[in-house]
Symmetry: C2
Subunit: 124 residues, 2 copies
């Protein structure tokens, strides 16, 4: 099972789709982020993934942990989120539709990012 890596400019809807896909196959998924911007995008993606997976009847929760990884010879601390399924009766959080303004805002941000990254010549 591959770790899903999230960057500050990752698009939450896209990451959420990846999380849901891995989860459906493995009944677990792992998301990794380094830095505040990336952690924030990862959390947004996890909120969306929770809603996607609820449509398949899963209640999911997340277990975060620190992990040290080496990037270009330097040790960095990453945050890793493991997505697990929990029994419905353990999930106290009602599945409300995404507030319209939040959905619009995320989508706007994604479009802005897409526009700016295509100006930069695409994503790395």
């Amino acid at each position: 099972m591959d770790v899903i890596k999230v960057a500050a400019k990752s698009r939450p809807f896209k990451v959420a789709g990846a999380v849901a896909g891995v989860f459906r196959e493995h009944k677990q998924a792992v998301v990794q982020a380094i830095g505040a911007g990336a952690v924030n995008q990862a959390v947004k993606a996890l909120i969306l993934a929770r809603q996607y997976l609820a449509q398949d009847g899963y209640h999911v929760a997340f277990i975060p942990q620190f992990t040290e990884i080496e990037i270009q010879g330097q040790v960095r601390t990453a945050v890793r989120f493991t997505v697990i399924a929990v029994p419905a009766d353990l999930d106290p959080v009602p599945l409300e539709p995404l507030p319209a303004s939040s959905a619009a805002q995320i989508q706007q941000n994604e479009e802005a990012e897409r526009a700016s990254s295509s100006q930069e010549g695409g994503e790395s």
Copy 2:
């Protein structure tokens, strides 16, 4: 049960203590953050709180959701994390001690924040 509010300059160890305290009393806790810096601090605090609560025999996981709140007449989107206990056999993440460098880094940041906030005349 009060919602624990986290800001970008909140200290993760302190927030983690609050989360563990509320959880021990209510078997649930809710943490709220607005903005990438605050969400990142909240996640760090949740990782630490998970370790504190493991010492009491709890395995905890987190359910994030968006929530809209009004601040000074403006609607803002906050992230809310609900802390729940899960059965040990549902928790696939080993409880490793915090990597020494992560602990040192968090502590250093907290000390730097404390120093700068006391120069500013204390926390608001």
